[in-house]
Symmetry: C2
C-alpha cells in the first residue's frame, strides 16, 4: 500500500498538515539586505539546517526599516512559521518598536520560536557575539603594534551593534591612555567607508591606523586610501570587523564573527522539535581576531 504510494510519487501536503497542526515548516529570516555578505552568510547557515530538515527558508530584506520589518512579520505570520530569526540589530530611535514587539509576542503565543542574532527590544532567545569585546580586542591589537593616533569609523547611527562597537573602541583607547576622539560618522556600507576616508585624507596629520565598524566600511576606507596613494599598511593600518568573504579577498585584517554558525544555531533552536529541557535565553559565540595584510607595526617602532 505504502509502496505504491511512494511509487506514484506521493508526498503529503505541507499546507494541509500545517493548517491542522498550526505550525508550518517554514522559518523566516529577517535581514537588512540579503546582498550584504554579512547577512547572506547568516542566511546560508539557517538554510543549511532548515533545508536539511525539509523546512523552507523565507527571507525578508527590510533595508533597516522597522516598518518594513513589521510588514514582513505580518506576511510571515499568515503562514504560521515554525520560527523567525531576526538577524539585524535594533536601533535606539525606533518609533515602531512597540508595534513590532506586539507582533512578535503574538507569534510567540502561537508557538513560533523567535531568535535574535543582535540586540533587539523584544523578548526572545538570542545568539550573539560580544561586539564590544570584539572592537576592544582589535583596537588593542593596533595599540600593541605601536599605533597611537587611531581613528574609528562608526557604523550606522542608532543601531545597537554600532553603539557596542564604538564603546569597545573607546574603552580600549582610554585604557591605553590614548584619545578616542578621532571618530567619523559612518554607516555599515562601502560608501560610508569612502566618505570617511575622504575626510581622513582632508585632515592632517593622517592617523596611524583606522578601525572601521565593519568590513564593508573598512574596504571602502582601504580602497580610497590606496587610490589616494596612501600606503596601507605601510603608512596607515586599516582593520574591520565581521570576517566576511570579502575581507579575505582583499586580505583585510578583521575580527571574524561566526556569521554562518550563528545562523546554524538559530535554525537548530527552531527545528529542535523536542524542547530540549533548559535552554539558556542568550548564547554568546566566540569571535576571532584575524590578522592579514592591512595591518602592520607603526613605522619606526621596535615592535
Amino acid at each position: 500500500v505504502l509502496a505504491v504510494a511512494t511509487e506514484l510519487g506521493y508526498s503529503p501536503s505541507a499546507l494541509a498538515r500545517a493548517l491542522v497542526t498550526r505550525k508550518s515548516r517554514i522559518v523566516g529570516v529577517v535581514v537588512d539586505d540579503i546582498v550584504d555578505p554579512h547577512f547572506a552568510e547568516i542566511v546560508r547557515g539557517v538554510e543549511d539546517v532548515a533545508g536539511g530538515h525539509r523546512y523552507l527558508t523565507a527571507i525578508c530584506s527590510t533595508d533597516r526599516s522597522t516598518t518594513a520589518e513589521l510588514e514582513h512579520v505580518r506576511a510571515l505570520r499568515d503562514y504560521h512559521p515554525a520560527g523567525v530569526v531576526f538577524a539585524s540589530s535594533g536601533h535606539a530611535d525606533d518609533a515602531s518598536a512597540h508595534s513590532l514587539g506586539a507582533a512578535v509576542a503574538e507569534m510567540q503565543r502561537h508557538g513560533c520560536v523567535v531568535v535574535a542574532l543582535a540586540p533587539r527590544q523584544f523578548e526572545c532567545i538570542s545568539a550573539v557575539v560580544d561586539n564590544e569585546a570584539a572592537a576592544y580586542d582589535i583596537t588593542s591589537y593596533l595599540i600593541s603594534l605601536g599605533h597611537r593616533r587611531i581613528a574609528f569609523v562608526e557604523g550606522t547611527a542608532g543601531l545597537f551593534t554600532s553603539q557596542r562597537r564604538l564603546v569597545g573602541f573607546t574603552h580600549a583607547m582610554a585604557g591605553a591612555g590614548l584619545s578616542p576622539k578621532l571618530c567619523f560618522d559612518g554607516g555599515f556600507d562601502y560608501e560610508s567607508g569612502r566618505n570617511a576616508a575622504l575626510k581622513v585624507l582632508a585632515s592632517t596629520p593622517l592617523p596611524d591606523a583606522i578601525v572601521a565598524a565593519n568590513d564593508a566600511v573598512a574596504i571602502g576606507v582601504l580602497m580610497t586610501l590606496r587610490q589616494a596613494g596612501v600606503d596601507v599598511p605601510g603608512r596607515v593600518s586599516v582593520v574591520g570587523i565581521d570576517g566576511t568573504l570579502l575581507a579575505a579577498f582583499v586580505e583585510l585584517t578583521t575580527v571574524k564573527v561566526p556569521l554562518y554558525d550563528l545562523g546554524v544555531l538559530a535554525a537548530r533552536i527552531i527545528v529542535a522539535e523536542h524542547g530540549e529541557g533548559a535552554r539558556p535565553d542568550t548564547l554568546t559565540l566566540p569571535y576571532k581576531v584575524t590578522l592579514r595584510g592591512t595591518s602592520a607595526p607603526r613605522p619606526g617602532n621596535a615592535c
Copy 2:
C-alpha cells in the same frame, strides 16, 4: 462586523487559503549559493516584487548539485508555490536532469509558473542575457585597446553559462585573427581566479590581458597578480563579467549583467495574476560593458 475584525488584528490564514485554492503565495528561488553576490542580487530583485505583493520568498542554495536541486524542488512542491525561479545554469553532464525535468513538469501541471534565468534542460519561461555576446564584447574591447595575447579563465566546467562565455571569447579572438588558445581551467569563484593567476605567473611571457569568466574569478586574478607585483592595468589588464557590487569596490572593468532586474522580471511574471495575453517564452535583457580601473591600453600602443 468587519471593523471589529480589523481592530482585533484579524488576518486570513494563508495556509487555509492556499489549501483550497491549490496555490500559495510563495515563490521559490533556487540558486547555487546565496552568499555569492551574483545570486544575492537576483534574489533581492525577486524579493522586492514578491514581498511587495505579500508573497514569501523561499531560497534554496544547491551548491550546484542537481540532486540538491531536486530535493529543494520536492520540498517546495509540498507548499504549492505560485512559482519558482531557477537562477543558476544547468550543466551538460547531468545525471539527474531527467528527474528534475519530471519534477518541474509536474509542478507546472499544478499551475506553478517556473522561470529560468540561465540555460536549463527543461521547458519553461526564461529571462536571460546573451552571455556569448557579453564575452565577445568585453574581449573585443580589450583587442581595441591593442592587446594581442589575451588569456581566458573559464567558468565552472560543464555549466552552459561557462560554455557560452568561452565561445564568445573564442569568436572575438578568432575574428581578430588572434589565437584563442590561452585558456585556463577555472570555476566561478575567487579561489579559481587565484589558481589561474598562479599558473599565468608561472608561464612566460605574461599575457597582455586576461578576461575572467566572472567577477569573482577576475578579482582572484587581480589580487593575486598585484600581490605578485604585477602592475594592473599597467602591465596586464584584467576584466570580468557580472557587474556585482564587488566589482565596483575594486574598480574592476566588467560587463554589467542586470542581475537585480532579472530577478524583478521573474517575480513579476510569477505574481502577475492575470495571464496578460501573449507573453514571449524567452526574454533577453541587455548588458553593459562597464569600463573601470583594471583595463588600460597596451603599453607602447598609440591607442
